[in-house]
């Protein structure tokens, strides 16, 4: 962590980025929460990571307000009446976004935009202008790649306008997901989404059937990278087990599974319990925030996210596999062990009764964390196959299908396509349909030469990366993360489908 002096003299940070870093520095001087020394040791040793959430959680990590309440009732705290036309609707949303906290202090969920805006579309030309300005505002003011909007599953006028304007603007923010179900989403709308995705790396496709079965059809949203969370709720906290490092400590597969995993699961769940209890019982958030008071969110809809990274390297280490191309993702025995580990982990986590998780079966839900830039090459995101060792795309999809079911709060794969696919979005849609049928939860793609590219779960602009390389400040706070992942984890070198 940088010192205050380092932060305020860093010319690559904007004012707002300095401000957030200074606040984090302040938070971390607090010593109220009695973290278990064993936990701190495990963190120090790189076995568990708290993702720099801060010492004193004063709000949940991810919040997914139910913005339909704003459309219906307005907001007393924000002094807003229910909007009557497209200008009032987009304006009300922009106002409210400013007041939705998160770990990055930007709102990580902007709502199901097409559902919210469709009732206000009267004149298409006017609506296009309003939505265009709305999206521009989001990119320039909510300048963080973890700001995320959803569309779909139904084909709507608003959805089409959002896609058209997304294509025109070519921005990294907001990140975007279409909730896709081949039975609810028209082929035309699906192909349009695929076409826009190939040009701007968004929207990604979420398996609506799968999420609906877990959360209820109208009760979930995709936030931040690809985090599936309950609408009018969210995620309290997200620490992660660093499986690649834990495997290095193991003397055998049995030792890993039956001694080390239980030990670290205990340490991490205890850590999560402590933070969640503090958030709910002591911090002001659930007592006084207008989001709670006006019903935009309900405490019982929040869940603790149990993260993990580096399954691929974990499995390869446990099996003594050195050549990544012959290991996890390319080797049935390695994949079997991978699934065995995840199933076992899921079981261990399910045995722990999680506090304040009323609508989540009183347990923590698994999340395949995408990694952070400093993880480097020794730890692949979540349960992904290492970059550079991906098998043919259909095999990679089948592999994903085995693992995605374990991770309701987020997992996904990214595929890079050659330029010619831009001419045939319906072909890409064929692949996506097959992927969803194979049990894939979340599918992202982009084209080789785009300006907007997907790093691990979020988007950055190559042109902004170049600015940062020249040591100039850039608007989007996530660009620096993208720079790190590009340089240290080769995150932009994934296999291309021709």
């Amino acid at each position: 962590m940088s010192t205050a002096y380092e932060i305020v003299t860093d010319t690559t940070l904007t004012y707002h980025q300095q401000f957030i870093n200074l606040a984090k520095l302040g938070e971390n001087t607090d010593t109220t929460l009695p973290y278990n020394p064993e936990f701190l040791k495990a963190k120090e040793a790189g076995m568990i990571c708290d993702l720099f959430e801060g010492a004193l959680p004063f709000r949940p990590r991810y919040i997914l307000p139910d913005y339909s309440i704003l459309m219906k009732n307005g907001s007393k705290f924000l002094q807003l009446d229910p909007p009557k036309d497209i200008w009032e609707a987009t304006s009300a949303l922009m106002i409210m976004y400013r007041h939705v906290p998160s770990v990055s202090s930007f709102p990580v969920f902007l709502g199901n935009l097409d559902e919210l805006l469709d009732p206000f579309i009267v004149d298409e030309q006017e609506a296009t202008k309003a939505i265009g300005l709305f999206l521009l505002h989001i990119d320039r003011v909510l300048c963080d790649s973890f700001v995320h909007a959803d569309i779909g599953p139904k084909d709507t006028k608003a959805g089409r306008i959002i896609l058209k304007e997304t294509l025109r603007l070519q921005t990294a923010v907001p990140n975007m997901t279409v909730r896709y179900d081949s039975e609810l989403t028209s082929d035309e709308f699906g192909a349009l989404c695929a076409e826009v995705m190939l040009s701007t790396a968004k929207p990604s496709f979420a398996n609506h059937k799968m999420f609906s079965a877990e959360f209820g059809e109208k009760n979930y949203g995709l936030a931040s990278c690809y985090n599936g969370l309950r609408l009018a709720g969210g995620g309290y906290t997200l620490p992660r087990l660093r499986l690649a490092n834990i495997a290095k400590e193991a003397t055998s597969i049995d030792h890993f599974k039956n001694v080390l995993l239980p030990k670290y699961v205990d340490l991490m769940t205890e850590f999560m319990d402590l933070r969640i209890r503090f958030m709910v019982e002591d911090s002001a958030f659930f007592k006084s925030n207008f989001l709670v008071k006006e019903g935009f969110i309900k405490q019982e809809n929040f869940v603790g996210m149990f993260g993990l990274v580096g399954l691929a390297e974990c499995v390869n280490t446990l099996m003594g596999i050195e050549d990544k191309k012959k290991g996890y993702g390319n080797n049935k025995n390695a994949d079997d062990l991978g699934e065995e580990i995840i199933a076992h982990l899921d079981h261990l986590v399910s045995l722990h009764k999680a506090p304040y998780s009323e609508n989540s079966a009183d347990r923590y839900w698994l999340h395949a964390q995408v990694g952070i830039e400093r993880d480097g090459l020794d730890s692949s995101p979540g349960a992904r196959i290492p970059i550079g060792s991906e098998p043919e795309i259909h095999k990679q999809i089948a592999h994903s299908g085995r693992f995605h079911k374990y991770f309701p709060t987020g997992i996904g794969d990214i595929f890079r396509f050659e330029e010619t696919w831009k001419n045939t979005p319906e072909s890409l849609l064929d692949i996506i349909k097959g992927a969803m049928n194979a049990g894939m939860r979340y599918f992202s793609a982009y084209c080789e030469n785009n300006d907007v590219v997907r790093v691990t779960g979020y988007l950055v602009k190559r042109s902004e990366l170049e600015k940062l390389d020249r040591k100039e400040a850039v608007l989007n706070g996530a660009t620096v993360l993208g720079q790190g992942s590009r340089d240290m984890a080769h995150a932009l070198d994934r296999k291309v489908t021709k």
Partner: protein, 279 residues
Amino acid sequence: MLFAPVNRIIPFSNVDGPGNRMAIFLQSCPFQCWYCHNPETINMCIHCGICVPGCPSKALAMTHGKVHWDESLCEQCDSCIKICPHLASPKILTMSSDEVIDKLSEVSSFVRGITVSGGECMMHPEFLEELFGKVKALNMTSLIDSNGFVRFEDYPRLMDVCDGVMLDVKATDPKFHQQLAKHDNASVMDNLRYLLSVNKLTEVRIVCLPRFDEQNRKTIEDVVSIVKDQARIKLIRYRPYGVRKEGLDILGSASLDEELFLEYRRYAQSLGAGEVVSV
């Protein structure tokens, strides 16, 4: 069960017909076009062994007078096909229709069917008939990508199980076709009319060449006058990649001028063509 020499299979292809398809390339072709992009598909390997020592990963070996290719050792560096003086490849698998269907099953939830190309896949019509019957049983579609050398009307049972043909018309001027492809085009023109009449003409493909403006225009005129708006016309811009020396000497090492290419597209449209795509 019938077998055919397979040059390669691309599990996902977006360029060989509607939607995502598995593309199968069969070996050998009776033509030898100037601009062939994969000349290693033209002839069957004669097992001369010349390519064997050039393989950097020891994936090739001569046993009992035949070249043997070990797929698991191959790094796909393509040295062997560059070395081969016979326009062939040692990396050919003889596959049964069932083996091809097995490959299809791996990707069946991602594709709408198969497209068989080459080489010239119509060198193996009985194999195609058997294969397509099995594809149909899986509720998927089969397309043929052909140079029109073999007469389709001689294979009515194949036509029953084939969902469409994408036909190359390399030139409508018989003399020019003879020079360009080392074969005349009588059967190609007959096939064009026949496929149209039985409603199996999915697409006509015309490669537009540099230095042969008149021939390009003539082919477009003749094809449009026969096909009218009844099938998609795909104009393909000449690109020098993979073309062997003979072709480069005649056509040059630059792609066809983009402006001119777009002009051809407008020309086809002005003659009354239906859908015209240019790639």
